[in-house]
Assembly symmetry: C2
Homo-oligomer: 344 residues x 2
């Protein structure tokens, strides 16, 4: 499969300045401490509110939103506040997830709650949830309220799924017998739904056709599943300097990532017992090297890579039915390939 579109790095740059401006516009006139906490989460300021050289992430969700919109011949400018909104919603979820998961570090910096305490971090997350909705409300054109209303609904339904996925993720912590199907159901809600939302939002501002919206949403969910599966893979076999994640953290935190769930059900009986015991014994830190070796001989590394490829192929198949421009189809395909195969 050839992709003559720009490479992913260029696609991530394509809308970056416009998204940044739309994000900053949401903060116009807001100078409360909660706004400082939100700016910190976005990487714009340090804990004292002083501007820092932003360590800008990829902004995958806004990029997918705007690329989908452009590929469908839509109004990218009208969609910009929606793209900023989905990035804000994603960041709200990170602030709350870090409290719920008790995570002290994110992208090499203390998490919001680690700086301000859990109570204020909960409040700051609620504030960012609000800003996400307010940004999406600015999308569209003044004479047509229906696109903005529909966009808020798309965002909010995606957020509902995300909260349901976060619940499953927490519930699985206490369950021994999590299957690959359970895992896939969880990531479809927790991660993939909002990526489907991002692409559906692009379609809202490109004709707002229900069938097209559903098709790109489903493609986005497949892309999102590949994204999370690859994320799980990189949490074990990635380069910590590139990913910003400690190579040990997912295993040390006994997270039920795809490779672990796979080995728990598909590994040799002795390995399954050993893995079960390592995850159940909270008194002894898991032996990372031993578990990585166990995952590899259980075929879990290869399985994770092939499953990400499967979702990549599914993304492309779903997109092939959508009336995308030639350039747009190739660009989205390139992003889908990147998502499933990335090292960062």
């Amino acid at each position: 499969m050839t992709t003559s579109a720009a490479p992913p790095a260029e696609l991530f740059e394509r809308y970056r300045d416009d998204v940044d401006a739309a994000l900053r516009a949401v903060f116009d006139g807001l100078d409360s401490p909660l706004a400082t906490m939100a700016r910190y989460q976005l990487g714009w300021v340090d804990a004292d509110g002083n501007p820092v050289q932003a360590n800008r992430g990829k902004a995958l969700r806004p990029t997918l939103c705007l690329l989908t919109c452009e590929a469908l011949g839509g109004d990218v400018e009208a969609a910009l506040p929606a793209a900023a909104g989905v990035e804000l919603l994603h960041n709200f979820s990170l602030v709350h997830d870090d409290v719920m998961d008790n995570d002290r570090l994110r992208r090499h910096r203390p998490t919001v709650w680690a700086v301000w305490g859990q109570a204020k971090a909960i409040d700051a997350g609620d504030f960012m949830h609000v800003l996400a909705t307010l940004s999406v409300l600015r999308a569209g054109t003044p004479d047509d309220a229906s696109a903005a209303r529909d966009a808020v609904e798309v965002l909010t339904v995606g957020c509902r799924r995300m909260t349901e996925g976060q619940y499953l993720d927490m519930a699985y912590e206490d369950e021994d017998a999590v299957t690959v199907d359970d895992y896939l159901r969880m990531i479809d809600l927790k991660t993939a739904a909002l990526i489907g939302t991002s692409m559906e939002l692009g379609a809202v501002f490109a004709g707002n056709d229900p069938a097209v919206r559903a098709a790109v949403r489903d493609a986005g969910r497949a892309l999102g599943a590949a994204f999370q599966i690859r994320d799980d893979f990189l949490g074990i076999w990635g380069d910590p300097d590139a990913t910003g994640k400690s190579v040990e953290s997912d295993i040390q935190k006994r997270k039920k990532t795809l490779p672990i769930v796979h080995a728990m059900t598909e590994g040799a009986p002795a390995d399954r017992d050993r893995l079960q015991a390592a995850l159940a014994n909270l008194d002894v830190p898991p032996d990372t090297a031993e578990i990585v070796a166990l995952l590899e001989r259980s075929g879990s590394r290869a399985y994770a890579e092939s499953l990400a490829e499967e979702y990549h192929a599914q993304t492309r198949a779903l997109l092939s039915d959508v009336p995308l421009s030639a350039w747009g189809g190739e660009a989205l395909g390139a992003l889908a390939a990147f998502t499933a195969r990335r090292t960062v």
Copy 2:
């Protein structure tokens, strides 16, 4: 001032069944554990999800929303999902506030986090925040998207103010020199803004005139200030059986309620020192009887009562400029009087 409108108890009953139906409609098709937690918060089920005889609150916010709408000659049926949305938003804030404030009891029942733990309670609050927005999106009529869009904006701006007020409330815990002005700024954001929002939402579905919206919002903010001041009063001088609040709790928790803030700035120097010491010494529980006596001789009880009356008068003055029906104006006035003088 005479009020020939129905007494408050009848006004609280007027829309109750319709609001209840609109609230329950939001849960159609939702059967996740988060939905059970939300139903528990609303008083519909016990912690196992079994239906209970609902201990229905007053539903002040939906009542104000629909009464404002009806008083302005608006479409009460179109406004119902918005009224349900503001009640859901209020309950989302209670779930998160209980986590932030570490409160284990509400209305004689364990709080959501006390049953399910803090992490899941944060998630359940986020879920209810989502349901609030989704409910408001259903308001209005299918052929006019602008009312639903405007209503979501009104709700979301109100929610932003609420999060800012919650931040101030938490920040004041660590500050010695909180003034009455600080306190009033805090409650205007934390409590009164959403009550203003409730009334503004009613106006959105009654012509959606910007000047009328602003006027009823301001009246609602004054009514909301009276509500919170009376709440603080009842937390010290109310009947615990009637209010569901322990008479000792606000004082034991060293909350900076209006009577405390007033005495801290207006009491005799020796009393101010004594109060300061009682609130600062975390090793010894405050002596409730001593503090109540101190508040009374500082004039703080009378001050709280007179300030609630002042906001009651302000609510009526602001409403007098609004084109309300005769019945509607009297009914809203009756609710304003109830709010400032209630014992429950």
